[in-house]
């Protein structure tokens, strides 16, 4: 259904009297508050000193210590690892995971959809079945392999084990199946080989899908917790999510204002990615360029 159809259906729906309007708004308002309040508390908390929060107060208004908190967190953190370093590590990891996942899955989907080779279905189904195996299930063998390869506490160790994506492969496969056979045939008549067809036709057509996936996968990589906790024990590769967990450490001597500051800093890159890619993201999820 096109958007105009949906809009027409909505305006035609009954029950648009003023009486129900405030109820709808109240529900929306409540939802907004529920989502926004924790963020607001963190944002405000990051502008107070440690003592205020240590006393158990939950400040809802900005305090005077924002600048010094951010400077302190950025350059030294609370555990001796500067948050700047953690953010860099997280960025490297999230970018490599997102780009790597897209590159690998688009190529494997291309192979599965456009080439006939023996065991094609077997390959597809084995990719598909790994969907059902989350990292947690295979975490010990994976750790063993990574550690035997000497990749503990390296970016490679952090990134490679989670770089294949069955979900993304499946998504690209479904998209490729909608590309008409005639395109492939027209390309054959034009004399375009498989790589040329991939570069000149499939990649440009997949742009919006890639953008949407990039947003999802960047956030996925950024939020990784269990695997980095296991494999990134050195501060050189510590991600911001792990850093925060370490900061909280024991309840008694946690510098909560700096934790909240770090929290705000950790939020910014994913938010930036979502905002920057928003247009493409929505396009990728809702329309196909055909």
């Amino acid at each position: 259904m096109s958007t105009t159809d949906a809009r027409a259906a909505r305006t035609a729906a009954p029950g648009r009297e003023g009486g129900t309007d405030w109820l709808a708004h109240a529900v929306l308002l409540l939802g907004t508050v529920l989502f926004a309040l924790p963020l607001w508390i963190v944002l405000m908390g990051s502008s107070h000193d440690a003592a205020t929060i240590g006393r158990g107060e939950v400040p809802l208004l900005p305090g005077p210590h924002a600048a010094e908190n951010y400077a302190a967190a950025w350059s030294r953190g609370t555990t001796g690892v500067p948050v700047a370093r953690m953010l860099w590590n997280s960025t490297v990891m999230a970018l490599c995971v997102a780009v790597g996942k897209i590159a690998i899955s688009i190529l494997s989907a291309y192979a599965v959809v456009f080439f006939r080779f023996p065991g094609r279905n077997l390959v597809f189904w084995s990719i598909f079945i790994t969907l059902m195996l989350p990292v947690e299930v295979r975490i010990f063998p994976t750790f063993k392999v990574v550690s035997d390869l000497g990749l503990v506490n390296t970016y490679a160790g952090l990134i490679v084990p989670i770089i294949a994506s069955a979900t993304a492969t499946l998504l690209f496969r479904q998209f490729f199946l909608t590309i008409p056979d005639e395109f492939v045939e027209a390309a054959k008549m034009d004399g375009a080989g498989p790589l040329r067809f991939f570069r000149d036709v499939v990649l440009p057509l997949s742009r919006t899908n890639m953008a949407a996936l990039f947003v999802i996968l960047f956030v996925y990589g950024w939020n990784q917790y269990l695997w980095p906790l296991l494999v990134a024990t050195s501060e050189d590769v510590e991600t911001v999510v792990i850093g925060m967990v370490k900061m909280i450490g024991s309840e008694s001597n946690t510098d909560w204002s700096l934790v909240m500051t770090t929290c705000v800093l950790a939020l910014l890159p994913p938010v930036a990615v979502v905002l920057l890619m928003q247009r493409w993201f929505v396009k990728g999820l809702t329309e196909t360029e055909k």
């Binding site: 005639e182 045939e185 054959k188 004399g191 000149d200 036709v201």
Partner: protein, 354 residues
């Protein structure tokens, strides 16, 4: 420009054979229309010529060169697809020039050829647009342009007009014909539409169940159909078929409906009493007060003419096309002029000539 020769083309998909050995010799610059109902193998035949399918047997030669084992791009051909297959992310000019770009032609040469083809088709103003900004007819032209810029030996058309509305189809049909004549490129055109086939082709190949039932000029196919399938397929409304038996030593037919009709053009081979099928086109049936009584069950007035569906005394259906308005009463008497009869052997439907 080139000839095309098909020799004994067969194609099986698994255990199912869809082409049972098709032979065809296309002359230089000729426009051949392959026509048939869906599932007759016409598209498969075209795809084999294009190289998109490989034949299970037989040989394809373009300009005398055996291309059976070559890739589509090496055959020096161009194809216009049913849904045009224009790349949505490229402009019209990029779409048209893509094949040339891959061949490594210099940019100036590509641009020149694209401009020439665009001028020929009247689409110069569209060169910077994307396919989705074009109407169906414009896309059709771009698809043609993409074929033309390659200056191929052979044009292949895979039902290119079936996505257009009726009016545009008639217009594009004439345009394709004019263009093909002007460029003089040997062409194969696949369609299921008999009007397209009749108007476009220098010769037709009427396909039926994986065989070429008849290869002839449109008028010959119409006037002397090779079998009952071709006879029923070409012409609208379709030819009437009546059963009968040879009589008077092959000089006449005794119709199941009653009368004995003497052939106008001489005796048919065959034994006395051999079952035959008599074909007569609706427009050749004449109203004749002294003729057979036709019980009318449907009258379709088309303005300039009227199509009457009815039944003969024996119960056989007969369609009559009359010039002018409809007969008013419920019955009509008709005569079957001997010179308009087509005689087919009942056993295999093949045409019987004197």
């Amino acid at each position: 420009m080139a000839t095309l020769d098909l020799a004994g083309i067969r194609k099986s998909f698994g255990p199912v054979e869809v082409l049972h050995g098709v032979d065809l010799a296309v002359r230089d610059g000729e426009m051949i229309v392959i026509v048939g109902a869906s599932g007759c193998g016409k598209s498969t035949l075209l795809r084999i010529v294009a190289g998109l399918e490989s034949p299970s047997g037989g040989r394809v030669a373009i300009a005398g060169r055996d291309v059976t084992a070559l890739e589509p791009a090496e055959r020096d051909i161009a194809m216009v697809f049913q849904n045009y297959a224009l790349y949505p992310h490229m402009t019209v000019a990029q779409n048209m020039g893509y094949g040339l770009k891959i061949r490594g032609l210099p940019r100036a040469e590509i641009e020149r050829r694209v401009r020439e083809a665009a001028a020929l088709l009247g689409i110069e103003a569209l060169l910077d647009r994307r396919p989705r900004q074009l109407s169906g007819g414009q896309r059709q032209r771009v698809a043609m342009g993409r074929a033309i810029v390659r200056e191929p030996k052979l044009f292949l058309f895979d039902e290119p007009l079936s996505n257009l509305d009726a009016k545009l189809r008639v217009q594009m049909r004439a345009e394709i014909r004019r263009l093909q004549k002007r460029l003089g490129v040997t062409s194969l055109f696949v369609t299921h539409d008999q009007v397209e086939a009749m108007t476009l082709g220098d010769r037709l190949v009427v396909m039926h169940q994986g065989h070429a039932a008849q290869v002839a000029t449109p008028m010959e196919v119409f006037e002397r159909p090779a079998d009952t399938y071709v006879a029923g397929f070409i012409g609208s409304p379709a030819m009437n078929f009546l059963s009968g038996r040879l009589a008077e030593g092959g000089r006449a037919v005794a119709l199941g409906a009653g009368p004995l009709i003497r052939f106008a053009d001489g005796p048919r081979p065959g034994q006395e009493g051999e079952p035959v099928t008599i074909g007569i086109r609706p427009e050749h049936v004449r109203p004749d007060p002294a003729g057979l009584a036709l019980a009318i069950d449907l009258v379709e007035p088309l303005g300039s003419e009227t199509v009457v569906h009815g039944r003969l005394p024996g119960g056989e259906a007969l369609v009559v096309k009359l010039a002018g308005a409809a007969p008013r009463d419920g019955a009509l008497a008709v005569a079957l002029p001997p010179e308009a009869l087509h005689v087919f052997r009942a056993e295999d439907g093949k045409r019987l000539d004197p």
